[in-house]
């Protein structure tokens, strides 16, 4: 396990690379979901205000 974490002496380069990439992926998921949720909320508000068919 220690050898695995040590990455043959490259731990300081390998692990930050993986951590950053996974962070970018998670932020993308959160960001996409948030965008959709906000658009839904805005669309509902437009329905409440307008209410008319166009």
């Amino acid at each position: 396990m220690k050898a695995f974490l040590d990455m043959g002496g490259y731990a300081a380069y390998v692990w930050p690379s993986y951590a950053l990439t996974l962070t970018v992926m998670v932020l993308n998921i959160v960001g996409a979901r948030r965008l959709l949720k906000r658009s839904r909320k805005d669309a509902l508000r437009r329905l409440m205000i307008g209410g008319t068919e166009s």
Partner: protein
């Protein structure tokens, strides 16, 4: 006749519904492939004979770099379709691509830098590959900045689309930069004519990551696209239909 399916495909309610239904079919396979690729790349693949375990950065660097180019190409094609056929949905696709592409371009640059430090002895060099990839990041950021400068979505769509289409010349420059110029960066080992230059135990996890990231992009794009389509829509009847099934 051929045009009916095209119009149906491009109609906002249809896009919204189909995108929602399709998302898990891309998202879950992506998760499985990326999970498998991580285990294969970090545990199962043998250390490289020159770079030892340091080469394992390839399993996050190469897919991120692939995303940076593939997403930009998708964005430029969608923007061109939006400009030529005045298709709102195509513009929505292009707008959805930008933040995804920008974030993975950033990841490609930073992981490349972290790989370069021990192997080349430097985090950064004004090298053709590195510089053109940095320009790609600026193209994405410029595209997003340009969009946010307009209140009118349709004007933002048209103006930003021109930038996206013009900027696509950078994509082949990035890809061939390591061939055309003397670069610190290695030549392609997978995306090349002829067989890849890696043994299967190293190659298979990489291919899983590349495919996994591509599907992940598909899933992200669909979720963002639903938001974009919804925010552009003014027809009350279908919003009601979409939000209250």
């Amino acid at each position: 006749m051929a045009w009916t399916w095209f119009h149906r495909l491009a109609s906002p309610p249809h896009i919204y519904r189909i995108a929602g239904r399709l998302t898990p079919w891309l998202g879950w396979p992506a998760a499985v492939l990326i999970g498998g690729g991580l285990i294969g790349g970090l545990v199962l693949a043998p250390p490289d004979y020159q770079q030892g375990d340091g080469f394992r950065i390839i399993y996050v660097h190469a897919p991120s770099a692939w995303m940076s180019l593939m997403v930009y190409t998708t964005m430029a094609v969608a923007a061109a379709i939006g400009l030529i056929w005045r298709m709102k949905v195509a513009h929505a696709v292009a707008a959805s691509c930008a933040p995804i592409g920008a974030s993975f371009t950033f990841a490609a640059l930073v992981t490349g830098s972290l790989w370069g430090a021990p192997m080349w002895g430097t985090y950064w060099q004004w090298d053709p590959r590195l510089t053109s990839e940095l320009i790609l990041l600026f193209l994405y950021l410029g595209y997003m900045g340009l969009r946010s400068a307009f209140d009118d979505v349709q004007r933002a769509d048209r103006v930003s689309a021109v930038l996206a289409v013009v900027g696509v010349v950078n994509v082949p420059i990035i890809h061939y930069s390591v061939v055309w110029w003397n670069s610190l960066h290695q030549a392609p080992s997978v995306m090349r004519l002829g067989a890849p230059t890696m043994p299967p135990s190293m190659l298979v996890p990489l291919l899983m990551m590349l495919l996994g990231f591509t599907l992940f992009f598909g899933a992200l794009l669909l979720v963002r696209l639903r938001g974009e389509v919804l925010s552009r829509e003014r027809s009350a009847s279908w919003i009601r239909e979409a939000l209250h099934p």
